[in-house]
């Protein structure tokens, strides 16, 4: 919901504080990503010590494949959340695109399978256009719009499928190959996810329009006044997120082969959770897609590790919940400490 503008933000003009802020901003996300890598490494190490089979080739493949979809979705979600919006419809978009690409390839098995990927991504992008237009043009809060489109897209999916399903036998082998082939031991979907993470990370970090997304998220009014095309950027973020959700849908279809209208139900909150665990502030303006991706990997590794550790599988969700609370609690603690340091720094500066 809305939060009062951050009164702790240092005043422009006090140069030392501003520089301090920049340093703190650079240091904090890095700390988060290092922490996540350490947490994943520790979890993997403990599980491996408990049962060395956890790092067998097949099991590693499964973990990577399991993390792929969530990672791609988390990257898109992070891009949206950074602008102080949120997209709750991604689960439905994934389902719609999975069904769209699968039934396209079932209908035209002779066409090259790349067209099926194109169809899925286009369906996702179209959903993103709807979300983005409603948020940016009609100026309706993103939480409300995407809660609505969550139902609408799922309804369209149901109507389209009308009880039918696509099975692996109906799909061309080349398409299913995407989900099965590996390059140097890394499954193709995981490679795609890595490319997505690196590309999105580079865009958000080094491109002007990428930086503008952060500016919009940290202070929309200021961003508008300084001439950033706020509406167009937010629209763009939603379209990007929709396309990525579409891509995730295609990968889902390629990996599992069988698709019905319920694919991806309830995934939206898991995606937001991955982004939050990855240090993307829910009110925008901070966090990286690397963090979001690592958050997604951590959540999927927990999924994979609990059964190996012979911990009751029913604990999985409770652990995820505690992790989210821990992550936002930690963010808050760091923010308070950074603010205190900044105040102290300003005194010395005066």
């Amino acid at each position: 919901m809305t939060e009062a503008p951050d009164t702790r933000t240092p005043q422009p003009g006090s140069a030392p504080a501003r520089r301090g802020n920049g340093r703190a901003n650079r240091r904090l996300p890095l700390a988060r990503e290092t922490g996540l890598v350490l947490a994943i490494a520790a979890l993997v190490a403990v599980t491996w010590l408990y049962n060395p089979l956890f790092l067998s080739e097949q099991s590693v493949r499964d973990i990577l494949l399991g993390a792929t979809l969530l990672t791609i979705l988390a990257v898109g979600q992070a891009t949206v959340i950074v602008t102080r919006s949120v997209d709750l419809s991604v689960g439905s978009v994934l389902g719609l695109s999975a069904f769209g690409s699968a039934s396209f390839l079932m209908a035209f098995p002779d066409l090259p399978f790349v067209l099926g990927i194109g169809v899925g991504v286009t369906v996702g992008a179209a959903c993103g256009v709807v979300n983005g237009a409603l948020v940016a043009v009609a100026r309706v809060p993103a939480l409300v719009v995407t809660l609505g489109t969550l139902y609408v897209f799922r309804g369209v999916d149901y109507w389209w499928a009308s009880g039918s399903r696509v099975d692996a036998a109906d799909l061309p082998e080349t398409f299913l190959g995407i989900g099965r082939q590996s390059v140097l031991g890394v499954p193709v979907p995981a490679l795609i996810a890595i490319v997505v993470v690196l590309a999105a990370g580079h865009y958000l970090r080094s491109y002007r329009s990428g930086r503008e997304l952060y500016a919009i998220g940290s202070q929309p009014a200021a961003a508008r006044l300084s001439g950033i095309p706020v509406d167009r950027r937010i629209f763009g973020a939603f379209v990007l997120n929709g396309s990525l959700a579409g891509l995730a849908g295609v990968l889902y279809a390629a990996r599992f082969g069988s698709v019905d209208a319920t694919v991806g139900t309830g995934m939206e909150l898991e995606v937001v959770a991955a982004a939050v665990v990855g240090g993307v502030a829910i009110f925008g303006g901070s966090g990286t897609v690397y963090g979001a991706a690592l958050g997604a990997v951590l959540l999927s590794t927990i999924d994979a590790a609990l059964p190996v550790l012979q911990i009751n599988q029913f604990w999985q969700q409770a652990v995820v919940g505690l992790l989210i609370l821990l992550a936002i609690g930690l963010d808050r603690l760091l923010a308070v400490r950074a603010a205190r340091r900044l105040r102290a720094g300003r005194h010395h500066g005066d």
């Binding site: 809660l147 149901y158 209208a261 959770a273 939050v276 969700q317």
Partner: protein, 367 residues
């Protein structure tokens, strides 16, 4: 844009008030979101009674009430929470955890007379955890309750696994869906009416209720006005948790089955109904009659479509469309009104160039 249209709007409004303030006020009342939702509810009830056989029967009305009861109950405190510019997404998980604990305690041999108060107490505690994380730790409620949503649902699985407890005594399970003797009104209808009256009075007739709007509109200002913002928000979360637990007890008895996945994703329906009812997601605006109309609108449309054997799936799309239209429509009417005001200003400027020229600087400085 807003600055340039101000003088013309003032002129237009002054003229209207001078002419007939009563019709203006009535018009303003009819233009509110609540009136629109209540109107939509009446239209849909009327259409459904005309088109769908057996919709307008007492028996079906009873079923409708039984179906919407859980969402309706939780929507009441949720309205209060959203008006204070917070949100609670963990309500369905609180419901599920209550259901699981209820089943486990019943299997352990406790009497339901003991279980019910224990469950309500647990609901209050779960709500208090949300509240403490939001108010004391200062975390955003959206993130906190996504976390507790996963945590409470997870605990529900820990408590009951994927088992179901179904051997509740018939006197309780049929009692909760039963009618008030001599009528065809289910008991739960009376409970809902009572709860709605209590929450309505709390929100619309007490200083605390006014305070909730003040907090939602501007928490800083509310704090400087001497309100204990944190305490009030904390209590709203406790209230929501308690009512969600009550809904959990109802759900378990109504379907005669305690399961960890009971009411999965119900939080989205609750939030959708509250927003449809005209409560602003940014807090500070909304009313309980609007929300109740929103709950009933969703409930009656899905009930009518189900009777007309429209597939369950179409319902999903209708729910979403309704929510989107309900928020986009007022925005668009605002835009149109803005455009019309601009045009009126242009007309005024064309008719009397001297007056506007002298007035315009004043309007500028005022804005």
């Amino acid at each position: 844009m807003a600055t340039s249209s101000t003088p013309a709007e003032d002129v237009a409004q002054d003229g209207a008030v001078g002419r007939d303030s009563l019709t203006t006020r009535l018009g303003a009342l009819l233009r509110t979101r609540e009136a629109t939702v209540i109107g939509a509810l009446l239209v849909s009830l009327l259409t459904a009674s005309l088109l769908v056989e057996s919709f307008a029967t007492p028996r079906n009305a009873g079923y409708l009430l039984l179906d919407v009861a859980a969402v309706a109950m939780i929507a009441l405190p949720m309205t209060l929470v959203v008006i204070t510019a917070e949100i609670d997404l963990s309500v369905a998980s609180t419901l599920g955890l209550t259901s699981a604990v209820m089943g486990q305690l019943w299997t352990a041999g406790l009497p339901l007379e003991t279980i019910v108060p224990l469950c309500l107490l647990m609901g209050a505690l779960l709500g208090a955890i949300n509240g403490v994380l939001v108010t004391v730790a200062g975390l955003p409620s959206l993130a906190v309750t996504i976390g507790t949503m996963a945590a409470y649902r997870g605990l529900a699985y820990v408590v009951l696994g994927d088992r179901a407890v179904t051997d509740f005594p018939l006197s309780w399970t049929s009692g909760v869906t039963g009618d008030v003797p001599g009528t065809e009104i289910p008991w739960i209808g009376l409970v809902l009416l009572l709860l709605a009256a209590v929450f309505g009075a709390l929100l619309h007739a007490t200083p605390l209720g006014r305070g909730l709007y003040a907090i939602g509109a501007n928490p800083e200002a509310a704090r400087f006005a001497g309100m204990s913002v944190r305490w009030i928000k904390l209590w709203m979360f406790v209230l929501t948790g308690t009512v969600a637990a009550l809904a959990g007890i109802y759900w378990t008895l109504r379907y005669g089955s305690a399961r960890a996945d009971n009411a999965f994703a119900l939080e989205l329906s609750v939030v959708a109904a509250v927003l449809l009812g005209g409560v602003s997601i940014f807090g500070g605006r909304g009313s309980l009659p609007g929300v109740i109309a929103g709950v009933l609108l969703f409930g009656s449309i899905s009930n009518a479509l189900r009777l007309a054997s429209v597939s369950e799936e179409a319902l999903v799309a209708v729910t979403g469309l309704l929510l989107i239209v309900s928020v986009v429509a007022p925005n668009l009417t605002d835009r149109i009104r803005e455009l019309r005001a601009q045009r009126a200003r242009a007309r005024v400027a064309a008719q009397s160039p001297t007056t506007t020229r002298t007035e315009q600087p004043t309007g500028g400085t005022n804005a």
